[in-house]
C-alpha cells in the first residue's frame, strides 16, 4: 500500500474530518505516533473524545467547505480521512481533497456498500464498515463448530 511505509518513519500532516469514536481514536493514535494531526468537526462537543495529551489541532467547521479545508491546512497535508456519519458528506469532502487539493492519500468511509463500490470504481479509496463488520462476523460464525 502506498503511504504505509512513510507512516512509520516520517512526521506527516494528516487532516481528519469527523471526531466521532473512530475519528477521535484515530486522531489520538496518530498524534501519539508523532504526526501533526488536525481534526475537524461541526460540533465542538465531539472534541471531548480527544485525550488531554492530544497535541494536534481541533477545529470546528464543515469539511465539505473548500474554504474550511484550506483553514484546516489541507494544502500541505499528506493524508485526508473522511469519517463523518454521512456517506455523502464523506464522499464530497474526500473528492475535494483528492481532486481540488491533490492530497496524496485520501481515505473515505462509506457505510453503504453499493455506494462504496461506485466510488471505488471512480478511484476513491473507500472503506465500508458495514461490509467489513459483516464479513468479520460471518467468518467468526463459519468457524463455529
Amino acid at each position: 500500500m502506498p503511504g504505509t511505509e512513510s507512516l512509520k518513519h516520517n512526521k506527516l500532516v494528516i487532516v481528519i474530518m469527523g471526531c466521532g469514536r473512530v475519528g477521535g481514536k484515530l486522531a489520538s493514535m496518530l498524534d501519539a505516533a508523532g504526526h501533526r494531526v488536525t481534526v475537524l468537526d461541526i460540533d465542538g462537543y465531539s472534541f471531548r473524545r480527544l485525550p488531554p495529551t492530544f497535541s494536534g489541532t481541533a477545529l470546528i467547521g464543515n469539511g465539505t467547505d473548500e474554504d474550511m479545508l484550506r483553514k484546516a491546512g489541507i494544502e500541505g497535508a499528506s493524508a485526508f480521512i473522511a469519517l463523518t456519519q454521512g456517506d455523502n458528506r464523506n464522499v464530497m469532502a474526500a473528492q475535494i481533497a483528492k481532486h481540488v487539493f491533490k492530497v496524496p492519500r485520501v481515505i473515505c468511509r462509506i457505510y453503504d456498500p453499493l455506494r462504496k463500490d461506485i466510488y471505488e470504481q471512480l478511484g476513491l479509496e473507500s472503506i465500508s464498515p458495514t461490509e467489513v463488520f459483516a464479513d468479520l462476523l460471518f467468518n467468526r460464525l463459519e468457524n463455529v463448530k
Binding site: 464522499v91 464530497m92 473528492q95 475535494i96 481540488v100 455506494r115 461506485i118
Partner: protein, 223 residues
C-alpha cells in the same frame, strides 16, 4: 412541441414540487424521488402518481426509478453533498446524459463541474445577482453566468474615482480571458468598443469575464 423527456427529480421540497409542476405542464414525463412519506403523499395528491419514496442517492432506488432510461436528473435536495452524490451515481452507474445539481455554497459550482456534474444552479449566486440588480449603486453587477463554463457577463459602472476614467481600453491591462463587449453612455447608442475607446465617468461597461478574473477587472476599472 419539443421532444418529451423522462426527467427524474430528486427531492420533493418546494423547488422539486414547482419544478415538477412546470415540467409536467410542458409535457414531460416526471418522477420525483422523495424520502419523506408525508411529502410523497402531498405530491401525489396534487400532481398524480409521479412520486416515489426513497433515498435518491441509493443505487437500488435509482434503478427502480428507471434511471437508465432517464434523459435528465435534477437534484434539488437541500444539502449540496446529497445533490453531488445523486448526480454522480446517475452519471456513472446509469449513464444519464444530463445531470443538474442545485448548489447552496457558490464555491461548489466549480467543484461539482470538476467532479462530473453537467450543470449546476447556484441558489446563492442567483439570489445575489438579483439583489445586486436591485441596488442601483452597486458597482459590479452579475448579469449572466454561462452554463457549463466559468464565464460570466458583468456590468460595471465607471465613477469619477475609477482609475480607468480617461484611459483608453487599450491602456487598461485587461486579463487575457476578459473582453469589454459593450460601452453604454447616456444619450448615445451602445457601442462595441475598440482599444482606442476612452472610458468616461458614468459609462456602463458590459464585460465578458471569468469568475477568477472578475476581481482583477473590478480593480482595474473601479478601484
Amino acid at each position: 412541441m419539443a421532444k418529451s423527456l423522462y426527467i427524474v427529480i430528486v427531492g420533493g421540497g418546494n423547488i422539486g414540487y414547482y419544478l415538477s409542476k412546470a415540467l409536467l405542464n410542458q409535457g414531460h414525463e416526471v418522477l420525483i424521488i422523495e424520502k419523506d412519506v408525508r411529502k410523497c403523499e402531498r405530491l401525489e395528491d396534487e400532481l398524480g402518481s409521479c412520486c416515489m419514496r426513497g433515498d435518491g442517492c441509493e443505487t437500488a432506488v435509482l434503478s427502480e426509478a428507471g434511471l437508465n432510461r432517464a434523459d435528465v436528473l435534477i437534484a434539488t435536495a437541500s444539502q449540496d453533498e446529497d445533490n453531488l452524490v445523486s448526480c454522480q451515481v446517475a452519471k456513472h452507474r446509469f449513464k444519464v446524459p444530463r445531470t443538474i445539481a442545485l448548489v447552496n455554497n457558490p464555491i461548489n459550482d466549480r467543484i461539482f463541474k470538476k467532479l462530473g456534474v453537467d450543470a449546476t444552479i447556484s441558489v446563492t449566486n442567483t439570489i445575489l445577482e438579483h439583489v445586486e440588480q436591485e441596488i442601483p449603486a452597486h458597482p459590479l453587477i452579475h448579469l449572466l453566468t454561462m452554463s457549463g463554463q466559468m464565464e460570466e457577463v458583468v456590468e460595471l459602472l465607471i465613477t469619477r474615482d475609477s482609475p480607468s476614467v480617461g484611459k483608453s481600453i487599450g491602456q487598461v491591462r485587461l486579463p487575457a480571458d476578459t473582453t469589454i463587449a459593450l460601452v453604454m453612455r447616456e444619450n448615445e447608442r451602445p457601442r462595441i468598443p475598440d482599444a482606442s475607446t476612452v472610458l468616461r465617468e458614468n459609462d456602463r461597461v458590459i464585460a465578458l469575464t471569468t469568475m477568477d478574473s472578475e476581481k482583477i477587472l473590478e480593480k482595474l476599472l473601479l478601484s
